[in-house]
Amino acid sequence: MSNLDWAVLALTLTGIIAYGLWRSRSRNNGTMDDYLLAGKSLPWYHVCLSVMATQASAITFLSAPGQGFSDGMRFVQFYFGLPLAMVVLSVTFVPIFHRLKIYTAYEFLENRFDVRVRTLTAGLFLLQRGLSTGLSIYAPSIILSTILGWNIYWTNALMGGIVLIYTVTGGTKAISYTHLQQMLIVTVAMFLAGWLTVHLLPDGVGFVDALKVAGKAGRMNLIDLKFDPDSRYNIWSGLIGGFFLQLSYFGTDQSQVGRYLTGQSVGQSRLGLLVNGLLKVPMQFLILLVGVLVYVFYQFQEQPVFFNKQEVEKLEQSQYAPEYQLLNIKHQTLIAQRQRMAVEMQSALETADDASGSPAQTATVEQTRADLRATDESLKTIKADVVTLIKKNNPTADTNDVNYIFLRFVLDFLPHGLIGLLIAVIFSASMGSIASAYNSLASTTIVDVYQRLVNRNADDKHYLRASQWATIGWGVFCIIIAQFANRLGSMIEAVNILGSLFYGVILGVFVVAFYLPRIGGRATLWATIIGEVLVIGCYALNLMAFLWLNVVGCLLVVGLAWGLQKVWPPQPKRLKAESQPD
């Protein structure tokens, strides 16, 4: 990184934090309502950008382009359930949460069932969110450690610590105002990155040509209609599994519920969520497309055999260096071959277009496509051999380089200034989601545990101070978790897998609460415990792709609660009148 990059990075981050703190100080009354929910004063566009910034962590901008590069566009299907979930939330959850004037989603569960169900669900949330926030801290930390050779443990501590400054002092208002700036910078920088990637392609290869090459190489795999429970990403897992995951995430995860509860009214919260539903799929499409464009760029360029430079350098200095050199030569030979094929493919595609798809030209395109795919397979085999060597050399090495692909491309090929801006994007995106997570962990700890079970009669000032201390405590916990997060493969998948273990079960509790008024607290409590054990069992035994765990978890809790209610003496406790959905 040059001085210009450092200046851009420092200015961007300082500007975001200072603006957030300034805006929140001038409008903060120092109450718990202000600290946890921004005094319920924010308009719909604040709600929208805040939920988007909370969901789009650094993981999104590190892993998603890497996924696009290595696996194509099919990951976009994962988000198909989101717009549907936004509609269901707007109809059901939002009006109830607003009317009950609650701080956390779990307060509603005591209103509907009893304190045991509330505490258990809040506990599951704290466990899941605490662990996944550790991953969110680790994500940008690997960038600094890769670029500067900093110690990863100290980098984690620094990253998690910076967020604490404005989260503890400014509360939800600071978080929300910083989210606005973060989303603006993220959008501008990702558009610039995509545009420059196309600009870096060889002369004569434009945006549409790049898409065609990507299509022939199997990277434009946007829709998979085949129903296969073992396939991670197809239209069905996206629509059904994704719907359940997003409904659980936005409806029952306090880091999101806390965002839309800041809306001035039901209407402002609803509109914020619906606009999020409109924007999310195109946004993910564009982020993945940047990764696919990077893939096309490397079709015409030399490509490293493994994108994590640090691990390769360690290998080059080890006893396995000769074996690695041999593999690297093979790799470079194949890359040179692939470059020639890509050029052939490009000209064949152009000619095929001119000749309106004559059989001879189509055959040429098909032959080159088959050759390209065969070369890709050979490259994968060589990479697997290199990974084996890396593992032999360093058994604790991170052998998945998906998260390094985009970063390596940015550092090697994008101009100075933009490098600093893109690093700032990764940082600020990470800070946005970490801040929401800290805030939600603190509010759940104080409202659902401390205020409810430990100290019920303190004044507002006491709870405000307790919330600030809880934020610090969770910050420290998440930083500790981050220290153990370095061997989880693609982080975006790791976070979603972790979420899927808990979200379905938590959603099941809320589904029972909203739609099955005859089922009582005892049946729901045991259904939740048994359901969680079974979901973890399904994952441990690898019975299905992780997205389906959300569906299974939810259905298990609903089914078990219904069955247990039949077996046990009924304890009907109807939904209170004020909590009926519209």
Partner: protein, 39 residues
Amino acid sequence: MTTDTIPPIGRSWPQLYAVVIGALVVEMILFYGLMVWLT
């Protein structure tokens, strides 16, 4: 009338819900078309 009954933009909430779901359907059709065209 408040924003709870009439949305800040659009005529009614059901209309906005239809727009969100309709946009998803259009996106899926466009993605499928793009995939078929490019593959």
